[in-house]
């Protein structure tokens, strides 16, 4: 049976429990590197925000709070559907697993769609530093700096979302092929961890970027 073959032990492990523990620990350790990666950008952001409080508030006014809030709600919902898909995998509900995975992907796509719209709108307004930027208001350099960090932080986040969507797609295909079972749901669990992490990063980005002032 495909399910049993797939859950077969990789040769370096002694038993499935060890394999599962290793995969989990590996994902947690990897997420730790991701925290440090985003952390570097957060530090840069914090330094400049502390130096230029008024300029950063001015910059934040150019973001659409409504869209940001909507995206936050979408992403939190996607974490819910992801958690539900993990649960479905653990209890062996193949149909539910696939549906929740697809739903998570859909929500992720909507998030990216809204983000894409925001980026396009910025381009339209000539507020993309280095590419198309002309701004006559006060605190010009500081608004530019704010927007640099806006694009870098949300861009890095969006990149992680795209990768996450790819991983979810692979999971959905494997789920459709019947690879997962109560005995073997590790990949769903660890990608679930990854997805939750991407969500949490956004939960920090949202107030720092959208809710200033």
């Amino acid at each position: 049976m495909l399910a049993e073959r797939r859950s077969a032990l990789a040769h370096q492990f002694d038993d499935p429990a060890q394999q599962h523990e290793a995969s989990s620990l590996g994902m947690w350790a990897f997420l730790l590197t991701e925290i440090m990666l985003f952390g570097g950008l957060f530090v840069g952001y914090t330094v400049y925000r502390t130096a230029y409080p008024a300029g950063f508030i001015a910059g934040s006014q150019h973001l659409d709070v409504l869209l940001g809030t909507l995206n936050t709600a979408i992403l939190i919902s996607s974490s819910l559907t992801m958690a539900l898909s993990v649960h479905a995998a653990q209890v062996g509900h193949r149909q539910l697993l696939i549906r929740f995975l697809l739903l998570t992907m859909l929500l992720g796509l909507v998030f990216l769609g809204i983000k894409g719209y925001e980026y396009w709108h910025k381009y339209h307004e000539s507020l993309v530093p280095g590419i198309r930027f002309s701004y006559d208001g006060p605190y010009q350099s500081q608004v530019q700096l704010f927007l640099v960090f806006y694009f870098l932080m949300t861009g890095l986040h969006a990149l992680h979302m795209v990768i996450g969507l790819g991983l979810l797609a692979i999971l959905a295909v494997l789920a459709w092929r019947g690879v997962f079972s109560p005995a073997y749901s590790t990949p769903v669990e660890i990608i679930g961890l990854y997805w939750h992490f991407v969500d949490i990063v956004w939960i920090f980005l949202y107030p720092l970027l959208y809710l200033l002032g």
Binding site: P53, G55, S141
Partner: protein, 314 residues
């Protein structure tokens, strides 16, 4: 500059001897501990050389008291070194003695430009008096450089966009190397100059023989008039008055208080919105790109000359 073989540079400043004192202590600590380790290693290597019919000698695998000793003794030593170094550092890095001569320096690829308060300018050469403290206020026109005079044991990075300061007091007449000590591009090793320390009378002679029409402050006053700064700053209520502002503690619109030092003056010219004084509207235009660093320092010198309070606010 002598060319015979030496292990230390000349001690030509008031702190050089103190820095060398700490250095000597550190050398002593190094020789002691490295020597101790080497002697122990050597004696163990010889005494416990593997011989045929080897017998395992009874021994301990650890000794917490010994660990405590060789943690606490180095810890105590490092704390001594820390405090000694920190105090000397504070002397060098914090405010100079009162009455220091204020020299402005601009580093650029690949030369040093100096301005004396009376207006004399030098390139790659700096004349200073012996026995009188000198405060360098420095900035860069391009990349990060570093002002390094080995004989004085001082060094300070020269950073674009801000002023950095270092002070020294030459203790011995002579000509000393001035190196750029932060890699700054192709001719970094060519950014080499000399500090010429002259006894006080000869220094005065040098100043007079290099008589310049305008002091830095006068040049600054002229720029201030020509650029129309007075139209706001001399008018009541439009902009903060310049008299007496230097060295004072200024309350900003945000509620914070800042010290109106050289850096604050310079920033306010280039980015007036950054720290607006409470009670004034943000109407000052920016002069970014309109002044060279030399002109900025001349403006700073002028504003300083309009009544200066010392850094501690007295």
């Amino acid at each position: 500059m002598e060319s015979y073989f030496r292990l230390f540079p000349e001690q030509a400043s008031t702190i050089a001897g103190r820095v060398d004192g700490l250095y000597a202590f550190l050398i002593g600590v190094t020789v002691f501990f490295a020597g101790l380790i080497f002697l122990l290693l050597l004696s163990f290597l010889l005494k416990y050389r593997r011989r045929p019919g080897h017998i395992h000698l009874p021994h301990r695998e650890g000794n917490n008291w010994l660990e405590a000793v060789w943690i606490l003794i180095p810890l105590a030593l490092t704390m001594v070194i820390f405090v000694w170094g920190a105090r000397l550092y504070a002397t060098v890095m914090l405010d100079p003695p009162a009455g220091a001569l204020e020299v402005y320096a601009v580093g650029k690829q690949w030369m040093w430009k100096f301005q004396h308060p009376d207006g004399q300018r030098e390139i790659d050469e700096l004349h200073v008096p012996v026995g009188h403290p000198v405060q360098m206020t420095m900035t860069s026109q391009d990349v990060i450089h570093s002002f390094f005079v080995p004989a004085f044991r001082i060094k300070m990075d020269v950073v674009p966009g801000r002023y950095t300061t270092i002070w020294f007091e030459a203790s011995k007449p002579g000509v000393y190397h001035l190196f750029c000590a932060e890699y700054c591009g192709t001719a970094h090793s060519g950014m080499h100059g000399r500090v010429v320390a002259l006894p006080p009378t000869q220094y005065q002679e040098w100043l007079s023989s290099n008589r310049v029409v305008e002091s830095m402050a006068s040049t600054g006053a002229r720029i201030f008039q020509q650029m129309g700064c007075g139209s706001c700053h001399d008018a009541e209520g439009l902009a903060p008055p310049m008299a007496g502002v230097f060295g004072s503690s200024v309350t900003l619109a945000s509620g914070d208080r800042v010290l109106a030092d050289e850096g604050y003056i310079r920033e306010s010219i280039l980015d007036p919105r950054a720290k607006i004084v409470a009670g004034y509207a943000p109407i000052m235009p920016t002069f970014q790109g309109q002044f060279s660093e030399e002109e900025l320092s001349q403006l700073v010198a002028y504003i300083k000359s309009l009544g200066k309070q010392s850094a501690d606010g007295s």
